[in-house]
Subunit: 228 residues, 2 copies
């Protein structure tokens, strides 16, 4: 599903260059649930953004389903992202002027193949994540963990084959976090979705098939948790 | 240090009213470390904002050090907040155009009694939280957990007698989170700072003297963890 080779990311800052990623190689197979863990600042969000085609590496290639996305232009990337990738951002990136329902319905309205009825699908997803009575709230009228769950619902809107989640439970209590994990496991069981989760939550990481350990921009360990 | 009686908060939304807090009573004594836990959406951030004088209750009173802040005007509140209260926001609220160093130095420059040399104090705090080489980064040039630590350093800048922290470790790995907890315990041991921490992190909550449980806008339990 995902093949990454020699991924480096250099971020110039004033006189310095920050080496956010220093040559990362990674293969993720279709239908796997992968955890990515590592210290704060180790490059997890940067790596996820590159895998998701939201950012380009300084060096290296990324292939999604065998297609090299590293040299694509913005239009091609936008199409791949809309059709194939659901992204849960570390700080949600919800549209502040839209309600929870409108935020989740938006990607469905943009999809080329409209498989779902936008508002109905948005309502179902938000209800399944515990927010049936917050549909008409805008992000500023929601708690931190409620915003996070709207961001999760939005990423699931088009039922993408690849789901990239950056700290999806950071603002959730144990029960809400367990409900999110259960929703992800159910999607994977039903649709074979490939799920990559960056997390500091050990409980969540322990449910992955494999956990990739990132330290200071390098992948230092690929830990298999479950027998194949 | 803090006396809260009958705190309610009603938030009008369209035709409805959201009852974020439904009559909360609470007493917090000087030098205590208090945890506030509860499900996502239960009213923790709303309560913390009212205690910190950033928001007014619909009903009820809040006294800080015996002074009723509920009917103060904005100027009086600003002065109390600058002199007495350090606030760590759930989403940091860093100033995007300032560097990490400038964000932390700012409250020191605003303090009426300048006890510290702003830049020196900011540098020390950021270094103690693991960010010695990120002083000149602006928030957008920092990882999620690095931004969180800048927000913590900023709240500690004037060494306030009362520290209010909303999910201070949500974006931190276990080691960075432990370093934050250690810094808070050290401050309390050295200065007798009163610390109120909203958290979903059970490890962090278990280190408090008492844990207050909030459910659906009500305080349902006041759990003493340590013998007085
Ligand atoms: N401006 C607003 N208008 C209407 N309702 C609001 C507004 N802000 C918050 N709420 C609602 O008030 C309730 C309490 O919100 P609050 O942010 O205090 O919860 P919380 O306990 O901090 O949750 P979390 O753990 O997810 O951060 C939530 O159900 C939320 O939807
Ligand atoms: N625009 C930028 N310019 C310079 N350095 C940056 C920029 N964005 C991020 N960095 C640096 O790159 C490194 C990797 O950041 P990244 O956000 O990927 O970390 P992370 O592993 O997601 O951390 P966290 O767990 O705290 O979210 C960090 O040290 C950060 O300071
Ligand atoms: Mg990150
Ligand atoms: Mg909150």
């Amino acid at each position: 599903m995902i093949h990454a080779a020699g991924i480096t990311k250099e971020l110039p800052l004033g006189q310095h260059v920050i080496h956010a990623l220093r040559g990362v190689d990674m293969d993720i197979y279709s239908g796997e649930m992968i955890g990515i863990v590592g210290p704060s600042g180790s490059g997890k969000s940067t790596l996820l953004g590159i895998i998701g085609g939201l950012d380009t590496p300084t060096q290296g290639i990324i292939e999604i389903d065998g297609v090299n996305i590293t040299r694509m232009n913005e239009d091609q990337l936008t199409e791949i992202r809309n059709e194939k990738i659901g992204f849960i951002f570390q700080f949600f990136n919800l549209i502040p002027t839209l309600t929870a329902l409108e935020n989740v319905a938006l990607p469905i309205q943009f999809a080329r193949k409209t498989r779902y009825q936008p508002e109905k699908r948005a309502r179902e997803l938000l209800t399944s994540l515990g927010l049936p009575d917050r549909l008409n709230h805008r992000p500023a009228e929601l708690s931190g963990g409620q915003q996070q769950r709207v961001a999760i619902a939005r990423a699931l809107a088009n039922n993408p084959p690849l789901l990239l989640a950056d700290e999806p439970t950071g603002n959730l209590d144990t029960e809400s976090g367990a409900a999110v994990l259960q929703a992800l496991e159910q999607i994977r069981a039903e649709f074979g979705t490939t799920i990559v989760i960056v997390t500091h939550d050990r409980e969540l990481a322990s449910r992955a098939d494999r956990v990739l350990h990132l330290v200071d921009g390098r992948m230092v360990e690929d830990e298999k948790l479950k027998p194949e």
